[in-house]
């Protein structure tokens, strides 16, 4: 890690999760998790005690075998629990909502979280020209449900009669296009895909952008969507083994180069020697090669059973850390510890 890459300030936070969209509510639901686990490494595979607002869908094969329908109880086969975002949490103000009439669930989750983060940071961004605000969206699977809907069209209507709207919304950058248009963000824009430590890599690039003066603010986020195809595949893949509920949602942050009083600092870095709160994945979803780096942590916690697991889990872990720091004055530093399947580790370090 270079010494030249300074930490950045977090000016805004927005999230849409299975625990809800209101940050205080999410924080209240998480508090028992990080308070219970203290001074020793303890992992529990038991279900999260607080029932997520979005409810728990029992998913396997969607009855109609079409991604356009809501996920419902399995008819046959392996059952897998999944943590879904409550539809009511995707509502936006009418003017903005009207511009999303063609958008799918993936984009709506992204827009909701991005707008909340932006709203929190708007006072400190008001004087920044649109060209100086960057946008970064990462996702493992992207808007895959819309992609399968496009394939529905190809299979049902033929290659030369498929839906242009489904095609244009199926690309990874569709949600960013909506966000940039709604918020008038005209700086650098990146969409990336990764199944392991993509969010950590994204934060590093955002740090680079700010350090290089490519922009003055970065709206950065991660989005994952549950869908019938991958859930049914996951059910077959994990059959007979303990697992964590797959989940969906979006987490967005507004980052700034400047040192802002009261704002938490974020950096993607090597694991620190000591930290107040270490956030790890539940061992069930860790790759076989993964091992925690040596770290002296006052508390070690996993939020996996609360948020569920998805390809952008680091973003949700970071959200948990931020909310824990906000709610608990004794936590000055928090770090997400994540290891790739090849044993590569990048830590997201939060400092008050």
């Amino acid at each position: 890690m270079s010494d030249d890459l300074p930490a950045v300030s977090i000016l805004g936070i927005g999230a849409v999760t299975a625990l809800g969209r209101d940050l205080d509510s999410i924080s209240n639901q998480l508090t028992p998790v990080y308070r219970q686990i203290s001074e020793s490494v303890k992992f529990s595979h038991a279900p999260f005690s607080g029932r997520p607002q979005g409810g728990v869908d029992i998913c396997n094969h969607a009855p109609t075998r079409s991604c356009g329908t809501p996920l419902k109880a399995a008819e046959t086969g392996v059952v897998i629990n999944a943590l879904r975002v409550n539809d009511a949490d995707l509502n936006l103000d009418p003017a903005m909502g009207a511009q999303l009439r063609r958008a799918d669930r993936f984009t709506k989750m992204a827009v909701a979280a991005a707008c909340d983060a932006w709203d929190m940071a708007k006072n400190s961004c008001a004087a920044i020209p649109p060209e100086r605000i960057g946008l970064f969206l990462c996702s493992g699977f992207g808007p895959h449900c819309r992609g399968f809907k496009f394939l529905d069209g190809v299979l049902d209507s033929g290659e030369t009669a498929s839906s242009p709207a489904d095609f244009s919304h199926s690309v990874h950058g569709a949600a960013s296009a909506y966000i940039s248009r709604l918020l008038d963000l005209r700086g650098p824009s990146l969409n990336t895909t990764d199944f392991e430590i993509g969010f950590e890599e994204a934060v590093r690039v955002a740090q680079c952008w700010l350090a290089e003066d490519a922009c003055d603010r970065v709206l950065i986020g991660a989005v994952e969507e549950l869908g019938a195809v991958f859930l049914s595949c996951a059910a077959r893949m994990v059959e007979g083994t303990p697992t964590i509920a797959p989940s969906e949602g979006a987490v967005f942050l507004v980052l700034a180069r400047t040192d802002v009083a009261g704002a938490a600092k974020l950096s993607a870095t090597e694991p620190p020697a000591a930290v107040d709160l270490a956030i790890v994945e539940d061992p069930v979803v860790l790759p076989a090669s993964a091992f925690l780096p040596a770290i002296n942590a006052k508390r070690i916690v996993t939020f996996t059973s609360a948020f569920g697991h998805n390809a952008s889990a680091s973003a949700f872990n970071l959200l948990g850390g931020l909310l824990a720091m906000r709610a608990d004055a004794s936590i000055d530093t928090a770090a997400t510890l994540r290891t790739s399947s090849e044993g590569r580790s990048v830590t997201l370090l939060l400092e008050k």
Binding site: M1, S2, D3, D4, L5, R65, P130, G142, G147, F148, F150, L151, V154, L155, E159, T160, A161, S162, S163, P164, F167, H169, S170, V171, H172, G173, A174, A177, Y178, S180, R181, L183, D184, L185, R186, G187, P188, S189, L190, N191, T192, D194, F195, E201, R204, V205, Q207, C208, W209, A211, E212, D213, A214, V229, F230, S232, C233, R236, M237, R344
Partner: protein
């Protein structure tokens, strides 16, 4: 601010224009256009396909069916050989940043068709997809460690990948970075672009009065970037470098470019500012030039405004087709080759000046004299990117 330099020590290319640098230059010199019938699958979409005819090395195992990865690795190995880095010294931090479009989605029609029929199809296609993240798969194949990102910025992915990798080098996150883009011909983008009504059934004619749309292609273009300190430590001299990169959003429309090209204008200005040069220092532009009505109109407007009507520019998509996620990587390599060879080819497919564009690409092989060249990319989602490469005297 971080302002250290980024050297370019190797390039690799594979496309319908050629399977390596020399065959590509021969194609350019001849003005040859190697399009064919679409293969290896049946399709109802009719277009001249710019595909790689030569067999690709088969990596076996989980990547046997992954044509995008095979194209990428073909170009990566060329670039590493060109950089004399076929064996990376132990302890070297090697970043991998790659753009793609096809390889970022589970879009197997046979798998999905079977799934829809409740047939519980074999999961190999799913495992293929999960193991095919381009940057991760490349890093694993090369057994290197360092930052990795797969950029999915649609048609600007390859350019953005090089821009990100250059940032990594400047920030000291890695010593070497392999960057570019790769994409294969596949039925999903064929159907998608057809549905959008932007494809031509004739060989594409970028910036021509009678242009009628794009042709899809496939390929991979890669560069090897190095920090000056690392390159000098192994006795390399600086010949080329990434001088500037800029990216900017239109904030306008999901698929159409901003009519005034405000995002492209901003991206080019950002790249010029990072390179610390004025527009007159750019000896030529390898434009995005897809041959769609909207793209070429927007791009011509911005290029003529920023560089004037005498700008020497071309689109190489007349030789390669639109290779989507690979385009930025390939076109960066072609820009470097133009500087290295001191000539650029005729903009294939261009015959008649379009008066409404106010600017026209080069119609014949053209000598180039200058240090800097620019490559531009416009993408779905309204992203625009510009890369400036420099030949060091």
């Amino acid at each position: 601010m971080i302002r250290s330099r980024v050297w370019i020590s190797g390039v690799g290319t594979i496309s319908a224009a050629g399977v390596d640098v020399q065959s590509t230059l021969n194609c350019f010199a001849d003005g040859a256009r190697h399009f064919s019938k679409i293969f290896p699958f049946e399709t109802d979409v009719v277009q001249p396909a710019f595909q790689v005819q030569a067999p690709l090395p088969n990596p076996g195992g989980q990547h046997e069916r992954n044509r995008t990865f095979r194209l990428a690795m073909h170009a990566v190995h060329q670039a590493l050989k060109d950089a004399e880095l076929e064996t990376v010294p132990s302890g070297t931090r090697v970043g991998i940043c790659m753009g793609t479009t096809v390889a970022c989605q589970l879009n197997s029609l046979p798998f999905y068709a079977a799934w829809r029929k409740n047939e519980n199809p074999p999961l190999d296609r799913v495992y293929d997809f999960l193991n095919s993240n381009l940057a991760q798969a490349t890093g694993k194949a090369l057994k290197v460690t360092g930052p990795r990102l797969t950029i999915v910025n649609a048609c600007s992915s390859g350019t953005d990948a090089i821009g990100v990798a250059a940032s990594w080098i400047r920030a000291g996150l890695c010593d070497v970075a392999i960057a570019g883009g790769a994409d294969e011909m596949y039925t999903v983008p064929l159907s998608g672009f057809w549905s959008l009504g932007v494809m031509s059934t004739e060989p594409c004619m970028p910036f021509d009065r009678d242009r009628s749309g794009l042709n899809l292609g496939e390929g991979a273009g890669m560069v090897v970037l190095e920090s000056p300190a690392f390159a000098e430590s192994r006795g390399k001299k600086n010949q080329f470098e990434v001088a500037g990169y800029g990216s900017a959003g239109d904030a306008y429309h999901l698929t159409a470019p901003h009519p005034q090209g405000r995002g492209l204008d901003a991206a080019i200005r950002a790249a010029l500012a990072q390179a610390n040069i004025t527009p007159d220092k750019i000896s030529f532009v390898n434009a995005h030039g897809t041959a769609t009505l909207d793209n070429d109109r927007t791009e011509a407007k911005v290029l003529s405004t920023l560089f004037g009507p005498e700008l020497e520019f071309l689109s190489t998509k007349g030789y390669t087709g639109h290779t989507l996620g690979a385009a930025g990587g390939l076109e960066a390599v072609f820009a470097l080759l133009g500087l290295r060879e001191s000539w650029i080819p005729a903009s294939a497919g261009f015959k008649n000046r379009a008066e409404d564009l106010g600017i026209a690409p080069v119609a014949q092989t053209t000598k180039i004299d200058g240090e800097y060249a620019m490559s531009t990319s416009l993408a779905f989602g309204g992203n625009n990117s510009a890369l400036i490469v420099r030949r060091v005297a």
